[in-house]
Each structure stands twice: as C-alpha cells, then as structure tokens.
C-alpha cells in the first residue's frame, strides 16, 4: 500500500509535461552537454590565446584557423595552394591503398585459416611481422617507388594488409563449432559451409579489422607524403609548417579529421546493413 502512496506525487508531476530542454537533459543529456563542451573549449581557446598573448605561429586562435580553412577551400579545384587538389590526391591514395591492402589481407587470411598446413607454417612469421612498426619502411618504399601516388599506395597496402589478415584469421578460428557440426550433419560441402556459415560468422571480426585499417590508411598516406611527395595533404602540412603558417596546418588537420570521419562512417553504414544481427558491436550508443 505504501508503494502506491509514494508513487502518487511522481504521477502528478508526470501529468504536467516538462519543457523540451528539461526533457532532453533528463533522457539524452549528451545532446546538450557535448556541443556545450565544444563551445566552451573554443571560446576558452580563442580568448585564452589573446589573454596570454600567445603568438599565432605557436598556437593560433580558432578564428584564424577558420579563416585559413576558408582561404584553402575558396581556391579552385586544381589550385596548388588550395585544399581541393591535395585532399583529392590524399583521398585517392587512401581509398586505393585501403581497398587493395585490406582485400589482399582478407583473402590471404581466409586462405591461411582454411588450409591447416599454411597456417602452421606461416603463423610464427605472421606474428613476428605483425609486431614490427611497418611505417618505418616508408622511406625505403618511397626510394623504391618514387614520389608519386604508387609509393603511398604501397605504404597504405602494407599498413592495412595486416589488420585484415590477423582479424580474419581470428574470425574464422572463432566460428562456433556447433554451426559447423550442423552443416556437417546436413551433408554440406566445404564450400557451402564456408559461404553459408564460416564467412558470415567471421564478418564481425573482419569489420573490426576494416575499422583499424581505415585509420592506418590515413596515417600511411600522411607519413608517405611527409617522406616524399609532390601533392597531398601531407606535403601541404610540411610546406605550411616551414612557413610558420600554423593556422594553415591546423586547418589541414580539420580536413584530415573529416576524411577520417567520412571513412569511418561509410564503413559503419555497410556494417549496419550486414551485421544487424550481431549484438557485439558498439552500435548501441545509437550513432
């Protein structure tokens, strides 16, 4: 009985609907708090820099970064000083390297995990190579393949290859033995078992690998362009840095962040369609 009397005031309060702000703060506070935090940081940065008299080539205020960004975007698509050309070149390298590198990694990982003798032979080498900092090979690869697009694509392939190789091997290994037994009991061929059970079962792992590879791909492109290139956002950063154009460097960083988000979100879109059944991913947050 006491429970009933205690709940009465709550139901009374619920009759009068709270205004939108209160409602959102109660149910999804991040919708208000997250943007507010950004505004506070930007304002603090803008006025902090001016207040303490920090020179613009050390840390430019956000307003200068926005101006630099606008200047870069305002240029024509083929303008060597503008951002469009360099973004295009970097994006092209990233996509090409990502597609080739992760496909080869996925195919090899699949083959290795399906053929026992291959796995037992190669395992020790793959583990060894996996722990190497492959990015350190960037200068040699530029030496071999030149300053053009090819060397960057090769570097990105090298970086994206291993995440897919390793995650797909793990994924195929983790397939529920009961599912395999089910297929065996139905008299399924090896190919049917692979196509209908093994591959879909391994997909969550494969997508984890693709997510990693997408980040590595952008890193690979920038490092490759740092080492030696004529075009691309990495070269733009280098040349701006040498002219002490720190605001410009920051604005290129924003472009890179957007490229990263774009890649990640495209992957998530595909993942959502293919892996709707998998409860294990981070989708719960409701992106």
């Amino acid at each position: 009985m006491s429970a009933v009397t205690e709940t009465t005031p709550i139901t009374e309060a619920a009759i009068k609907p709270p205004n939108r702000f209160v409602l959102i703060m109660r149910t999804r506070p991040e919708l208000i708090l997250a943007p507010s935090l950004l505004v506070v940081i930007i304002l603090g940065w803008e006025y902090g820099v001016k207040w303490f008299g920090v020179p613009g080539y050390i840390l430019p205020p956000p307003s200068q970064i926005v101006v630099a960004l606008w200047r870069g975007l305002d240029a024509g698509p083929f303008d060597r000083g503008g951002y469009w050309l360099h973004t295009g070149v970097t994006l092209y390298q990233v996509l090409l390297g990502f597609v080739i590198g992760s496909s080869v990694g996925l195919i090899l990982g699949t083959l290795i995990s399906q053929i026992k003798i291959l796995e037992s032979t190669l395992r020790i080498y793959l583990v060894a190579i996996q722990s190497l900092p492959k990015i350190a090979l960037a200068p040699i690869i530029v030496l071999w393949f030149g300053f053009g697009v090819t060397s960057k694509v090769v570097i990105i392939c090298l970086l994206t290859f291993f995440p897919l190789l390793v995650t797909s091997m793990h994924g195929f290994k983790a397939v529920d033995t009961e599912r395999i037994e089910l297929m065996r009991s139905l008299g399924a061929s090896a190919w049917q078992t692979f196509w209908k059970v093994r591959l879909p079962s391994a997909l969550p792992y494969i997508f984890a690998g693709l997510d990693m590879a997408a980040v590595f791909a952008v890193v690979g492109a920038i490092v490759g362009e740092f080492v030696g290139a004529q075009r691309g956002l990495g070269t733009l950063i280098l040349s701006m840095n040498s002219q002490m154009d720190t605001a410009g460097t920051f604005s290129v960083f924003i472009i890179l962040a957007l490229v990263g988000v774009l890649l990640h979100q495209s992957l998530r879109l595909v993942e959502k369609r293919l892996l709707f059944w998998s409860g294990g991913s981070t989708r719960v947050i409701g992106s």
Partner: protein, 286 residues
C-alpha cells in the same frame, strides 16, 4: 570405418520389430576414443538396438554414459570403432540426408530469418526451392511459429528457437529424427509444453524419433521404449516398454503406471552404478 556386417549381426531379436524390417539396426557397436595422453576411453560398449519405423525411442542415462556419442555415431558425424549401424537397410558411414538432427542448442544462424533458417537443409541439399518454402511454412505452422517466419532468431524466446530448430530438422523430410537433449536448456513449464508439442508433431509427421534426455519423466512421457544407459563404459542396461496409450496428456504424469515406470528407471539408474552382470544388455523388460 564401419566394420562389415557379419552374419551374426543381422538377426534382430526385439519382439517389437519382428515382422517389418527395422529402420534402425545397431549391432554390437563400440566406440573408443584416444585421449591427448594416448589413453583409451571406452565411450560405448556393445550397443545393440533395433528400432521399428514410426517408433519413439528415448535414451536416458547419467552424464558421461555416451548418449551424445551414440547419437553422433548414428548421425554419421563420427565413425564407430566396431560393430555396425544400418539405417533403412544401408550402413552409416557419413552424414546422411535421411536424418534430421536437433541439438541441445537451437544453433540458428542469427543473420537468417526464421524461415530462411528452416530452409537451410533444403538449400544445402539442393531441393526445389518453392516446394521447400511451402514445406517450411507448413512446418512453422505446425510448431506454432507461423507469424514469426520473418523474425530473426534473436527476437525469439528459447522455446520458440528450439521449435524453429525442430522445423529445420524436418524440412528435408527425413525418415529419422535424432534429438540430443533438445529441451535441456528450457525452463520446466516450457519444457512440458514442448513435450506435448513434440508428441503431436511426431504423431502428425510419422517420423521415427530417437531422443536423448537427462529427465526420466520426459523419457517415459515421450517414449514407446526407454533405453536406460549406464556410464563407464556406456552400455545399454535395460529397455523399458512404456505401454501408456497415446496421445498422452500432462495428466498422464499422475498415472500410476507412469509413476511405477519412472520409479523403476530411477532405481535402475541409481542402483546400477555397477551394472548387474546377470541382466542381459539390450534385453527387454516385458
């Protein structure tokens, strides 16, 4: 790895199967495993059993008595060490298409709808698609999942998932249904409901069923005959005939005959930690 059938194994002596040819004929079956340390473990020892068409056999026994091993050998998933199994007259030496299996877990593929899961055996075996889809729908109707055909397994309760698994085991119209503790993971009430449903499905479909269970009441409720097994090595201790008329209802469990049979089997299982050497393995009670 099946040893060829010797002349002595062809003579089946079960009174129930005299007349018609048995659909399942297991003769002097042994199964021995080698452990990692190269020790021999006898999982099954001298199992002989014949099952008539449309018969419902339940197998009950303690953990580790080799019940599941027996089912896997029957399904052709693992080879026998010695002895022979013939299903519908042909020896079992690989997975066969005239068998449907229901495992303890439903093992539904989470990326397929219920209907597509039920269609899986038909797809794998290349049966005509339209006919298979119609049959899958009929089966889902029979197990009470007609409105759920487009749902995904994760949207179904445990009992519903197991019903879908039973439909899947029947979609390619196998003569024999093998069930390995299919209701072991369900709560008591769902389990009783599933027992009733399974009895109905069996009576409607006319399959031969072998069902493994831990539950003595379940074994007596469902079985025409109960095979009582003992452990280490896995042997058939007794065959118990259940002469309770069909269809059996939940009230049957209050029947004195039901109580007598469950008590008797329980006594056997607890008393037979060391099997009585005077009892002939595989001998009937009647």
């Amino acid at each position: 790895m099946n040893v060829a059938v010797g002349p002595q194994t062809t003579a089946a002596q079960q009174p129930r199967t005299s007349g018609a040819d048995p659909i399942i004929d297991i003769a002097h079956l042994d199964k021995t495993f080698l452990t990692v340390r190269n020790e021999r473990v006898i999982a099954l020892s001298d199992i002989s059993l014949t099952v008539a068409e449309r018969e419902f056999i339940t197998i009950v026994g303690p953990s580790g008595c080799g019940k599941s091993t027996l089912l896997k050998v029957l399904a052709g998933l693992i080879p026998a060490t010695r002895g022979s199994i013939r299903l519908a007259g042909t020896p079992v030496d690989r997975p066969r298409r005239d068998i449907g299996i229901v495992f303890q877990n439903p093992v539904l593929l989470p990326w397929r709808t219920v209907l597509d899961n039920v269609m899986l055996p038909a797809e794998v075996q290349g049966l005509p698609k339209e006919a298979a889809r119609k049959r899958a729908r009929d089966l889902l109707k029979m197990v009470g999942l007609a409105e759920f055909e487009n749902k995904y397994p994760m949207e179904l309760s445990g009992g519903m998932q197991q019903r879908a698994a039973i439909s899947r085991a029947l979609v390619h119209d196998p003569a024999i249904l093998l069930m390995d503790e299919p209701f072991g993971a369900l709560d008591a009430m769902t389990r009783e409901q599933m027992n009733l449903d399974l009895q109905r499905i069996w009576m409607e479909s006319g399959k031969t069923v072998i069902l493994i269970t831990h539950s003595i009441p379940e074994a007596v409720f469902l079985g025409d005959r109960v095979v009582v097994m003992t452990a280490r090595p896995g042997k058939i201790a007794r065959l118990v005939d259940v002469d309770i008329p069909r269809p059996r209802a939940l009230d049957t469990m209050g029947d004195p005959e039901f109580g007598r049979l469950t008590a008797e089997i329980r006594r056997m299982l607890y008393g037979l930690a060391t099997p009585d050497p005077h009892l002939p393995a595989g001998g009937g009670l009647s």
